[in-house]
């Protein structure tokens, strides 16, 4: 699972890489992602305490940091967040992402996020980690300062920003509230044991991806006011707060990376199903052996269209999909308990990282369901279903591979605190 065929990695390596490869990298040095009012709340830095660390842990799990950085969503897994250990875990970016051997080709190597001083984040401040998550700025190439703008040259934002390499989804993570980003930083710095694992530097163009991260593709920060072009006010106005909460979760969990529109609710086809190159992608043994079977993942239309989208399903079915990975079309609409869990579960394909996002709180998952059902305009776009595994992926999702839910108690063998 932690190799190149891991489900989380598959998700990461699909849409973002494809859009980078498709749009190319115009190596200009004009601007970075630019959004009005991108300043964070002054003084929002959180005091580091157990509560903050545990919050950061939950956020790390639900955002799937371990999918690329090691250990998937299992804090007890060997090498959890300690960075890649094999070239097979690298991501090819550029033309070679589509066609092996093509140029240009850059390798991204997810780093060691444990607080080891020389190989991890130990020498970086929580503010530098915050700046990496909010602004995408590489800690090693960015001053340890408070940044109050995302316009190059203003508010301590570097004139020549150096961005984390794709597929690091900072453009999604940046939508988290300040307190959440500080909590993640606190967990990485204070909740993990340091592991010495030097990961070779990622490669990239000499502009450090500045021309690749465009607002047009990845949306703005902050997100445009609700309702944006792809959205609508809920008919039942009492649902508005929950719709907004769900929208926030959808943006920060990068649903649009696979389901369309990235983090831009103004984008045509936002969450209306895969459309960009790479958003339909293979999973399965063929990733490691081209002659082995492939299963095509086709991220579905999540808008509330009654035939083509989630209009067919209840909010509970959507909840069960996110929390338990149960395919709505193949699972009865009922509350899921250990007793009612299907004997022969029909799971979502491993492109969908439900085993990461299931760590969200009940309220957050319900909010997502409410947003999808009531906050999006329905789009009549019929998507073919993803290929089904003969056993409904049941043998694929073992605790060993995807961790357990709930997560093991804190601290695990990889963690420190208590």
């Amino acid at each position: 699972m932690r190799g190149s065929s891991g489900p989380a990695r598959t998700r990461r390596s699909a849409a973002i890489l494809a859009v980078i490869a498709a749009t190319g990298v115009a190596v200009a040095f004009t601007s970075g992602p630019d959004g009005p009012g991108a300043a964070r709340e002054v003084g929002a830095e959180q005091q580091v305490n157990r509560e903050t660390i545990l919050k950061g842990r939950q956020l790390v799990l639900e955002h799937g940091c371990g999918g690329c950085h090691g250990g998937d969503a299992n804090p007890a897994a060997p090498g959890f967040l300690a960075g890649i250990t094999s070239p097979a875990q690298e991501f090819p970016i550029g033309a070679c992402a589509e066609q092996p051997g093509a140029e240009p080709c850059w390798m991204t190597r997810p780093r060691n996020l444990t607080p080891d001083n020389t190989t991890g984040l130990g020498r970086f401040s929580e503010r530098q980690i915050f700046n990496a998550l909010r602004f995408g700025l590489r800690p090693g190439e960015t001053a340890d300062v408070e940044i109050t703008s995302s316009t190059p040259g203003e508010g301590n934002f570097p004139l020549s920003p150096k961005y984390l390499a794709p597929p690091m989804p900072w453009n999604s993570w940046r939508h988290m509230p300040d307190a959440d980003l500080w909590a993640i930083a606190a967990y990485l710095k204070h909740g993990l044991k340091p592991v010495s694992n030097q990961v070779e530097d990622s490669e990239g163009p000499p502009d450090f991806w500045a021309s690749a991260y465009t607002e047009e593709t990845f949306g703005s920060y902050p997100a445009p006011p609700f309702p944006a072009a792809a959205e609508q006010e809920p008919v039942d106005r009492s649902l508005r707060d929950r719709v907004l909460a769900g929208r926030q979760q959808v943006l920060e969990h990068a649903c649009g990376d696979c389901h369309g529109g990235f983090q831009n609710p103004n984008a045509e086809g936002f969450l209306a199903g895969a459309s960009a190159p790479g958003q339909i992608f293979p999973v399965g043994p063929c990733l490691e052996d081209p002659s082995a079977p492939c299963f095509m993942m086709r991220p579905r239309n999540l808008t509330p269209h009654p035939e083509a989208g989630t209009g067919r399903y209840t909010e509970r079915q959507i909840f069960n999909a996110i929390r338990h990975g149960l395919r709505p079309s193949g699972t009865p609409d009922r509350d899921i308990t250990p007793e009612t869990f299907p004997a022969d579960p029909d799971f979502l394909g491993p492109g969908m990282i439900w085993f990461e996002v299931r760590h969200m709180s009940d309220a957050d998952i319900r909010a997502i369901a409410t947003y999808l059902k009531h906050g999006l305009k329905p789009v009549n776009r019929v998507m073919e279903e993803s290929d089904r595994h003969p056993d409904g992926w049941g043998t694929f999702y073992t605790d060993e591979e995807v961790g357990t839910f709930p997560a093991p108690p804190f601290p695990t063998v990889n963690e420190v605190g208590g």
Binding site: A26, P104, G140, T142, A143, D144, D201
Partner: protein, 482 residues
């Protein structure tokens, strides 16, 4: 779009063909004035920068005048280049003194901008350090008067150090060597060559290529430090040194390049590595190649072990100091620096002493402070230079251990002003023998520990990355010794 990117990268990362020779400098035996020495030599013979004329008649006193001025020189064949030069030459004349000498320097700034001259590696009063704290206005002058300490015989150099302008002024031609001699030199019989390495890049009209900071090349220059495709030794491209079979020559080498790190090797020859920034080791160290980061100096013994008439090349061998994003495509190609031509004379028999000079380890038991310097790309401890800020405070006369950690994917040569140090360990591996340094290269993702004695001179001393573009951008801090 991808194809455009690839083409751009290729265009930017492959150096253009450059000029191949220079006639800008002159050399004479130490102690003489500054005549043009090239008149009797073949065009490709290495010339040595002349020694600054000593105007003092006092014993054990060297009094010199150095003037920085704009001028035009032919650095490359067939074209004239507007340069800044010390006493009209690139490199500047060599400053030679003996241990214990009183050194008086009169410095005149005839440049159209502020400058300073940093006497790189010398232990001297703060006011004389030539750091950004003591700029000399255009048309201004400054006088320095200090004593060269005993035990510091070695090869040093001088260069400008104005705030944000060091890279520019060195690129324009301001650099020169300093040789501090020992009256009891352990290698008295060995012929000596001074090799000052420098590189530069030129536009077709012969002018120095200094791109806009925000241009593609400007950005690459910032990341890597500005490198040139023309490699100079004493201002000449690929000059020739002659050696008699069996002869031993002592080569003092200064890396005056803004950013280029040289891995030096002589085809088919084992080198004897005998000295670092602060002079000779205790004994020679055989090696196939020696790394010399920018601003470092080394001394090597070259033994004429090849057959009479042989011609071999002294090269800059591949060394990957670069961050992947801006690594030049040609980084893995060796570059010729100098041609060594054997004479047809009968071989000499020369012995190399097995012992050079005693160098004792500094005592680590009475260290009063330990500091960690975290190097990232353009920052030290997450900060850029602020002239109004003191980053570290130390007590005069104390001894400290500094741990310099490089967290990023390219090398950073770390330089401390005013005080020499001994490297204790590199990446946890103890240094095999003691030696003196004022600069140490900290390779990508590695850690270097050194010990330093902060004696004699209070003041605000700079520590910085000696990739001049990084220094310019503020990868520098201030140690106040009180």
């Amino acid at each position: 779009m991808v194809a455009i990117v690839a083409a751009l990268l290729v265009a930017l990362l492959i150096p253009t063909a450059g000029p191949s020779a220079s006639t800008s400098t002159a050399g004479t035996p130490p102690g003489a004035a500054e005549p043009d020495p090239t008149h009797a030599l073949p065009a490709d013979t290495l010339v040595t920068p002349p020694v600054l004329r000593n105007a003092s008649r006092e014993p054990n006193t060297v009094e010199v005048t150095l003037t920085a001025t704009p001028t035009t020189l032919s650095l490359v064949p067939g074209s004239e280049t507007a340069v800044f030069a010390y006493n009209g030459m690139v490199p500047g004349p060599t400053l030679e003194v003996y241990e214990g000498d009183r050194l008086i320097i009169h410095l005149r700034n005839e440049l159209p901008e502020e400058t300073t001259v940093h006497w790189h590696g010398l232990h001297l009063p703060w006011y004389a350090d030539g750091s950004p704290f003591h700029p000399i206005e255009p048309g201004g002058q400054a006088d320095f008067d200090f004593v060269i300490p005993q035990g510091t015989a070695g090869t040093y150099w001088y260069h400008p150090h104005p705030h944000h302008r060091s890279a520019y002024q060195v690129a324009k031609g301001l650099y020169g060597a300093i040789v501090v001699r020992d009256r009891d030199d352990p290698l008295p019989e060995v012929a000596e060559k001074l090799l000052v390495l420098w590189d530069n890049r030129f536009l077709q009209d012969g002018s120095i290529d200094l791109p806009e900071a925000q241009s593609m090349q400007g950005r690459i220059d910032f990341e890597n430090g500005r490198e040139g495709d023309v490699l100079f030794v004493n201002g000449q491209a690929n000059p020739t040194v002659r050696i008699r079979p069996g002869e031993v020559q002592r080569w003092r080498i200064v890396n005056a390049s803004a950013a280029r790190v040289y891995r030096l090797g002589l085809q088919g020859h084992e080198l004897l590595y005998v000295g670092s920034d602060g002079g000779l080791f205790e004994k020679p160290v055989p090696t196939d190649d020696v790394l010399i980061a920018n601003s470092e100096r080394i001394e090597i013994l070259v033994r004429g072990t090849a057959a009479p008439g042989s011609i071999v090349t002294f090269q800059d061998l591949p060394y990957d100091r670069y961050i992947p994003q801006t690594r030049p495509r040609s980084w893995d190609k060796p570059r010729d620096l100098l041609t060594l031509q054997y004479t047809d004379e009968t071989p000499l028999r020369m012995e190399v002493p097995s012992a050079l000079r005693p160098v004792a380890w500094m005592d680590t038991t009475d260290v009063t402070a330990r500091r960690v310097m975290v190097l990232t790309q353009g920052f030290i401890n997450g900060k850029t230079m602020d002239m109004s800020r003191v980053d570290e405070v130390a007590e005069l006369g104390t001894r400290e251990i500094w741990q310099v950690e490089n967290l990023v994917g390219m090398d950073h040569p770390f330089h401390l002003h005013g005080f020499r140090f001994q490297v204790l360990a590199r990446n946890g591996v103890p240094e095999p023998f003691p030696s003196w340094h004022d600069t140490v290269n900290v390779p990508k993702h590695e850690t270097v520990r050194f010990i330093v004695q902060l004696d004699d001179y209070p003041g605000k001393w700079m520590f910085h990355c000696h990739i001049l573009d990084h220094e310019n951008a503020g990868m520098m801090g201030i140690l106040e010794v009180r």
